[in-house]
Structures are given as structure tokens and as C-alpha cells.
Symmetry: none
Subunit: 209 residues, 4 copies
Amino acid sequence: MQSRTPATRTSGRPRSAEADAAILAATREALVELGWSKLTLGDVAMRAGVAKTTLYRRWSGKNELVVDAVAELFDELVLPDRGSLAADIEGVVLQFAAILARPEAASGLMAVVAESTRDDALRERIRSSIVERQKRLVLEGRARAQTRGELPPETDPEETVRTVDLIFDVVAGAVVHRTLVSGRAADEEWVRDFTALLLGGLGAEARQP
Amino acid sequence: MQSRTPATRTSGRPRSAEADAAILAATREALVELGWSKLTLGDVAMRAGVAKTTLYRRWSGKNELVVDAVAELFDELVLPDRGSLAADIEGVVLQFAAILARPEAASGLMAVVAESTRDDALRERIRSSIVERQKRLVLEGRARAQTRGELPPETDPEETVRTVDLIFDVVAGAVVHRTLVSGRAADEEWVRDFTALLLGGLGAEARQP
Amino acid sequence: MQSRTPATRTSGRPRSAEADAAILAATREALVELGWSKLTLGDVAMRAGVAKTTLYRRWSGKNELVVDAVAELFDELVLPDRGSLAADIEGVVLQFAAILARPEAASGLMAVVAESTRDDALRERIRSSIVERQKRLVLEGRARAQTRGELPPETDPEETVRTVDLIFDVVAGAVVHRTLVSGRAADEEWVRDFTALLLGGLGAEARQP
Amino acid sequence: MQSRTPATRTSGRPRSAEADAAILAATREALVELGWSKLTLGDVAMRAGVAKTTLYRRWSGKNELVVDAVAELFDELVLPDRGSLAADIEGVVLQFAAILARPEAASGLMAVVAESTRDDALRERIRSSIVERQKRLVLEGRARAQTRGELPPETDPEETVRTVDLIFDVVAGAVVHRTLVSGRAADEEWVRDFTALLLGGLGAEARQP
DNA sequence: ACCTAAGCGAGACGGTACGTCTGGTCTTTCT
DNA sequence: AGAAAGACCAGACGTACCGTCTCGCTTAGGT
């Protein structure tokens, strides 16, 4: 989560482990009720039953706190085994859409992405805590499809990385855009259309090297 | 842009047209230098050589102002005629990526999208000022491809709308995600890969009704 | 009151005489409702059904306007003939107290006096419009008392001026202080006590040159 | 044994005692330079080297602040022992006039009095902080004069209160009116005349029950 | 059983920006 | 030329948070 305290803690009172959890939970609660821009750290501290100093001792500011609070939400994504690549993709995309439809995810995620355009450390934190962390789903899905014979075994490892990245950007980007920018639900019908488009593209790409 | 005063203004000093332009330009300038979160309306007013009251008389807050300032950026997108659908798409996607790479676009756009998750009026303003406004590119490209015979003429109009929306979400979403979330440039190589994926998907979709 | 050029107006639209009266009346009305510090010239203009520019064309600011509006209130003071000096004084002091008890007088008068401590032109305007204008009451009362034989005829004119000034400061000051600072009504009992004190002092003074 | 301190403040950082003094001093300084109407709390805070919030944490607004700043000025009044009642009065009146001649006193005092005509809490604050606080001078002077045999011992206590109040209104009112409204100095000559008037009145009053 | 160093709740602190209001001025059109 | 209307610049208002800083108190591990 937060890469804190690599060094040995020798003396003094240890930091409260409960406080960490309470603060992150309070942050998500505040995101739901207030959204990112009206969320204040003083309010989060109060909700968590914690002093502001305790919060600042652990996170350097609102952005870092929100990244950590939001990142946890995406850990609940799992790749369901629904029997076919298409069905698997549809399943995970629907889960992703469901998370994005939750106000704490949408408001928080977009805001920190916006902030990250001017803060490289923040961008890196988002990449490692959220993006790279969830690429496991693409890799897992690919592997499963190869086992099933739906996709050919990979040959060029570099090519594979490029394709995984592309797929991830297309999937995550399309769902986010549909949900937050176009402002319409990524419902089953849309997910079916989208998955057909994606698989068609992948098949075609696979056919013409 | 801002739908102001459709009614006739007869008496009193008329609003300065220069002020409007100066404020929007100053807003983009401030977005470049400061980003969304550190942009203050007082600072924008100062840059524009305008009093804060003049600014607040026209826009109700930071979000509305930034939407209008950013929306203008996307009006410069044009669909180049490069001879084939693939080349046309690559061309416009590259243009889109170039705009998104500009700091005033990235920071401002993501931030107002984040805010719009808690403000329906703002979401609608974004949709009408930015999203719907640029769907013209998809429609134009489709028409041109049909003229060339690259795409079959549309039969079901409802189906057409759904496909246009899908394409728009996929294109815009993928480029945004690549650029802002993954934090890597949407360069020519990536655009070629992406276009291939998209056209493959469309072709496959067209083949299997 | 306002020393404006009564000189020849040759061309153009003549100034509205009604506007002057409306503005002063609106000023007093606003003083009653809002007090000096919350009175705004924009509000006065609106109440008077007049544009702000019209108001500024006639008065240079809030202070000048309020002085003129308040000065008119004191013109209604008259010296009643109640048969004796003591009774005359009591009568006029009660009138004065009654005016001061009106909120437009109290709030406005004290405020412009406060302002006048830093604005010589304003102090002079107050002196000529209010103070000197009402000294007529002291002079008149003195003359009447001399006719009655209650006071000896004046001998030294310089001495007379000094006494008149002193009396005026004592009378006006005591009533103002009682009413506004001590915050208690200058009622008949108090006025009787005060008048006794004043006449006693004058008699004693008269006896010992 | 029960603690006498009501609402002891135990936790949290204690308020800075220096800040209070610095703010009141800065207020008087600003009154001298700017007068009441141009004094801004932001400016006072800056002069005191204090944040605006610190100021607002202690005082609810400009009026309350100025009352406290001005009240301190009058604490330096003392009743000198000059051997006779007349001389004592002259001495204290001259001191009072000297304080009123200072711009911070004049501008501030009159302004808050003006404001107090529309704000009962403020009027009460003025009464208790300034007026009642300085009545000590009248009581002390009276006692000393009785010791000397210049005034008869008091008989009716209610009558005494009424007389003290009357004297205070007459003295304070006359000096204020002379200084601020008539706009002339309360110099030694005037004070001598005034004291003669006052003592004459008191003597006459004493003689005729 | 003490010592000591860090953590903790509380809340004051110096700042910055907010969005609103007012003071005066300027620019329209109408009278 | 004056008036009504209202936009304009300038700047103070009182509030809300920021991130930091004292306070006095708690809570552990090392001695």
C-alpha cells in the first residue's frame, strides 16, 4: 500500500495500525458523501477519530491519501472462469464497470489522474498501485485463453508486452470513458458489443502479423 | 459555448466581448502554469486584466470556466483525408493525442470529469460542449469510408448510433488512458497498433451481424 | 446645504429637483433601517428611484450625503416660550433629546462626527450645517431671558461668545452622552436636574466676574 | 476543595498572550494612521504579525476590537490631588481632553458609539468597558471633596447615584462635544470656565434641595 | 520499576483562496 | 446634457482549509 517505514523502528510508541485502516475507510466514506474537491483532511481525520497530525504523519497530502484509498477498491477484481475468452472478458469488464460506478471510485480516481498530470511522483504512485497491479487480469485471461486454444501461444515476448498494454488501455479507457465522460452505464448490452469489437480486433491482428 | 443572454439586452452598458476572450485565454494559460488544483479565479482575473466580479458575472465557478476553456481546444480537430479509413483514423487519433499531451487539456479535462461525477449539470455541460461536439469526426469518417466502399452503407439507424457511440468511447478512452493513466505517449507506433485493433474489430463485427 | 451652482443652466436636460428630496428622504429611511455602516449608496439610489450616477453627481460620498440628510432633522427645533428661562431650556432640551432618540439622527450624526476627526472639510460641513445653525437657539433664549430680566444685559461681546459656545457644548454634549453613550433616555426628570445644574452654574458665574 | 476556574482549558495549544497585546496595539496604530472607516481587519492582522483567523478567533468584528483597543486608553486617567475640588476637576478634565485629542481615541470612540445605536450588545460593552469603568473618577473626587469639607456628606444614596451619573454625562459630554463636534481644543481657559460652571451648578443645587 | 523517545488528541497558528459586496467610474441608450 | 441601467475595476469582507506548531498525555521497549 504505502511503502512506509523500511527502516527499523527502535524506540518510542509504535504507530497505531488501527489508525491506518480507519483513515482509509474514512477517506472512502468522505469521497462518497462529498466527492474529491469537497473532501478535506480535517474532515477525514474527524471521521476516523484521529488527529490531523496523525494523518499527516502517514500521508503527505490529499492526493496520496486518495490514491491509497481508491487502490484498495480495485483489488476485489477477479477473473471469473465462464468457459470462454469472450465470456471471461465480459465478466471482468462488468466488474470493473461496477466499481467505477461507485462514487468513491469515480470521483477519486479521475481527480488523482488529473493531479498526476502535474506531479510525476503521483503518476508513478498511481501506475504502481493501480494500473500495473491490475494488469494481472489481462495476463491471466490471456494465459487461460491460450490453454483453451482460443489464442495462439506467444512467440515474441516484446510483442506480448505491447499487446497487453494496448488491451489494458483499450479496456480500461473505454469503460471509463463510457461511464464517466459519456455518462452512460456500461451495461450488459454495451459490454457485449465492446467485447465483440475487442475480440474481433485481436483475432484480426493475430491473423495478420 | 456559454449559452448566455438569448434575450435582448437593451439598456445599460453591454458586456465586454474582449473580456470573455481574455478570461478564457488566461484560464488556459493558468492551467498550463499551475494545473487545475492550484488555479484560482482571482489569479485568472488578474491575468486577464479583469476584476473578479466580471468573471463571476459570466461563469458560476471554476468548473464551468474550465470546461469552456478546454472545449475550445478540441475545436481544432479536423478529419484529414489521407486516402484510406485506417490512415484517416490514425491521423485524427494522433491529433487528439497531441491535444491531450498539452498540459492545459489534460489537467483541465480530467479534473472537470472528476467533478462531473457529483454534478449533473456539469456532466451535461461537458457532454454537450465537448463529447457530442466531436462526434462529428466519427460520423464524417464513417461517411467518407462508405463513399470509398470501405464500409457497407448503414441499414439500421439505431444500430448506427450505437456503433458510433461505441467507437467514440473506445477511441477517446484508449487515447486518454494511454496518455494520462498509463503515462506513455500515444505515438505513431501505438496509434498504428490501436487502429489495426479497432479496424479489425469493426470488420469482424460487420461480417457477423 | 449643498453649495451647487445656482448659476445659469443654458442647455441640456435640467437636473431634477425632485431627485434631491427623494435622495435625502431615502437616506434617512436607510439610516433607520440599516444604520450608517450598512447603508450603501447603491441602496439609497435604488430607494430613491435614481441611478447611482445621479447621486454621485450631487454628493461626493456617503459622509456628505448623511450630513445633509441629518442636518435637516435639526431644523425643526424651536425655542418654545414657556414663561421662564428654566422652562424654555427644559423645553428645547427635550426636543433635542427627542430628535436624538430617532435612529436616523443618532446613528448618522455620531458616524459623521467620527469620520470628521480625519476629514477637515467634513468637520467644517458639520459645523456650519448643524452646529452653528442651531446656536440660534442659545442666542434667542439668552435674549428672551434678558428681556425678562432673568439675565443681565451682556457687556463684553467676546465674553458673550465664549459663554454661548460653552453652553452649547454643555447642553448638546450632555444630552448626546446621556442618550447614546450612557444609553439612557433624557427624560423629564433628568432634564429638570440638568437644567437646574446649568442655571445654577450660569447664575454663579454671573455673580462672580 | 472545588476549582474556581470556570471551563478550564486543558488540551490543545494555548492561545498566545502576545497576540492579544500585539493586535490591540496594531489596532490603535491603524486608527491613528487610517481612522475607523479605513481600518481593515486584514491590515490590523498584518501589522500585528498575526493571521486574520487569529484575530477573528478572539474578536467577532471590527467594533468589538476597537472598543477594547480604545478602552485601554482611558485606564491611564488618574485623579490628581491638587488641593481643591475645582483644581482636581480641572486636572482630570484636562487629562480626558488630552486623550480625546489623540486621533485613535476620537475616531474609534465616536465610531463605536455610532454603531452601538444599532447593536445593544455593543452598547453594553461600551458601557461596561469604558463608561462605568471611569465613573470611579467621579466617586473618588466626590469622596475627597467631602473629606475636605467642600461637599456635604451624602444623605440619600439614590440621589447620589443620580448626581454622579449627571455629572459624568455633563463632563464627558461637554468635553467630547467641544473637542470633536465644535472642533476646538478643550484648553486650560475653557476647562476653567467649564469647571466654574459645573461647580456653580453643583453648589446651587446643593443649596436648594 | 524507571526512562525515554515517539505517537497521540486537541486546537491555535500563519497563510491562501474563496465567493460576495460595496465604492466609485464608465459606457451604453433613451429623454 | 441629464438620466437610468448596468457593466466595470479595485479591494475588503468573514469563512474554510491548508499544513505546521505547540501543548499535555499515553504507550511501548530498553535498561
